[in-house]
């Protein structure tokens, strides 16, 4: 068994001085295996989003140690954070589409990385979320329903074939069919590319249907694991 993709030790995220006194997240110990799907459930403000931002390198821990791919991420690592963010991609709740066409949105991350953009890659990414490239590719960001936009945003991350994909409430407000497409995409990413996924949601049943493990969070701490038929 290879080293876990993420391992957290004594990690605290807090604000002010000392940060530990105002912690919004406290994770004494957590490992996330490569190619696993980890679910996070909890109420709003339970620390799920903060944990995902931490894993997506949008936040640095105030204290403790975070290792990614077997290496401790130090201050220099965070200064060149875009290199890490190109490997672990977050689809946050606050994520929006760019004011461009659907195709341009999906191609955007590849262009940022200086990677060649092929129509086939864009079509594949859109196909994973159940959108037809010919129909949706040229559409403007304005011409999408909420569910379609959310799926395009997911496709834009899938196109990047990241090592880790971090999804914050990916199914909120989606209809049943869209939820199905998201689930299908998540499983396909893991199956075909070995992507590690961390998914936060308040929909326990849905999480249980696709995740390997589901952790329960409350007040910034991991308080337990939901066991049951997986």
């Amino acid at each position: 068994m290879s080293a876990p993709l993420y391992s957290l030790r004594g990690v605290v995220v807090g604000y002010g001085e000392p940060a530990t006194a105002n912690a919004v997240l406290h994770v004494p110990e957590l490992s996330i295996e490569r190619g696993s799907i980890l679910g996070l459930v909890g109420h709003n403000g339970s620390g799920k989003s903060t944990l995902l931002k931490l894993l997506g390198f949008l936040l640095a821990p105030s204290a403790g140690e975070l290792s990614f791919d077997g290496r401790v991420v130090d201050a220099a690592g965070y200064r060149a954070g875009h290199l890490l963010r190109r490997r672990a991609v977050l689809l946050g709740q606050d994520t929006c589409l760019l004011k461009r066409s659907v195709a341009a949105n999906v191609a955007f991350g590849l262009k940022l990385r200086g990677q060649p953009v092929s129509q086939a890659a864009l079509a594949e990414a859109l196909g994973l979320v159940g959108l037809d490239f010919v129909e949706f590719g040229p559409r403007s960001w304005r011409e999408l329903s909420g569910g379609e936009a959310r799926r395009v945003a997911l496709a834009a991350r899938l196109a990047l074939t990241p090592e880790a994909l971090l999804l914050d409430e990916p199914t909120t407000g989606l209809d049943r069919a869209s939820v199905g497409f998201v689930q299908q995409a998540v499983l396909a990413a893991r199956e075909s590319r070995g992507t590690t996924l961390v998914i936060a949601s308040h929909d326990v049943d849905w999480l249980k249907s696709c995740a390997d493990r589901v952790l329960l969070m409350d007040e910034g701490r991991i308080t337990g694991e939901i066991l049951g038929e997986l």
């Binding site: 946050g92 709740q93 606050d94 994520t95 760019l98 004011k99 403007s140 959310r150």
Partner: protein, 243 residues
């Protein structure tokens, strides 16, 4: 008073007869405005981005300063630029007084705060969600700046249009720094001031119509380009993915 009808018919006559003096003023207005607007955008966009995006000590003071500059009277800007450019002033060596580039410099001081302030506001209003989106897609610092400005393009087009309106219609700086020299620095607005001073009200109004025509042409061009680059017109609404 029949200044209006007289002015309108005179405006048509000036344009149709390709009146050399009028077209010289149109040309001076166009080059001064283009130069000043270009310089304002070149300096103002990065400054506005920095002001709207970064949290740094003194940011509020800087913001206050820029907004304060918006209300600086053009006569005062004209005086300051004159004092800088006069042969005996600190920049006298450059020989810019009573020239088109000199006027453009003065008018840049007018346009710059508009661009900075409106860009900062646009960047601020899109900021948190867009920044997170761009960062999570893997943007580095420069890509973040560039993409944020591209995303704020509608607001920036508005800023540019606003600055254009102020610059093209400005008269105090143009008069003071340009000197209203026939064939050279006489713009449409200073020509209007001259004609009004001479009591030729109808000619003044005619030139006013000419200025409006020029402004309309520019606005139409911008609208055309905007429409083409975007596919359709519309407000700058954030592309929300949240239902």
């Amino acid at each position: 008073m029949d200044y209006f009808s007289e002015g309108l018919s005179q405006a048509v006559a000036l344009l149709l007869s390709l009146d050399a003096e009028t077209f010289s003023a149109v040309g001076a207005t166009a080059s001064v405005t283009a130069l000043a607007l270009f310089a304002s955008l070149l300096l103002g966009l990065p400054l506005g981005f920095a002001l709207g995006h970064f949290r740094f000590p003194g940011r509020r003071a800087a913001r206050l300063f820029v907004d304060w500059m918006l209300s600086l009277p053009t006569v005062v800007i004209g005086l300051i630029v004159y004092a800088l450019l006069t042969a005996r002033g600190p920049l006298g060596e450059w020989g810019l007084l009573f020239t088109v580039p000199g006027m453009a410099l003065g008018l840049t001081l007018l346009g710059l705060p508009i661009i900075v302030s409106m860009t900062a506001t646009a960047v601020e209003s899109t900021d948190t969600r867009l920044t997170e989106t761009l960062l999570s897609l893997g943007a580095d610092r420069w890509q973040l700046l560039l993409a944020t400005l591209v995303e704020a393009r509608f607001a920036m087009a508005l800023a540019a249009a606003t600055a254009f309106g102020r610059i093209v219609s400005e008269v105090g700086i143009a008069m003071m720094v340009g000197g209203n020299i026939k064939w050279q620095t006489r713009t449409i607005t200073t020509a209007i001031a001259l004609e009004t001073g001479k009591g030729e009200f109808a000619t003044g109004i005619a030139l006013g119509f000419v200025l409006m025509v020029v402004a309309l042409v520019v606005n139409l061009l911008v609208a055309l380009l905007r429409g083409r680059s975007n596919g359709r017109q519309g407000g700058a609404q954030p592309g929300g993915v949240r239902p």
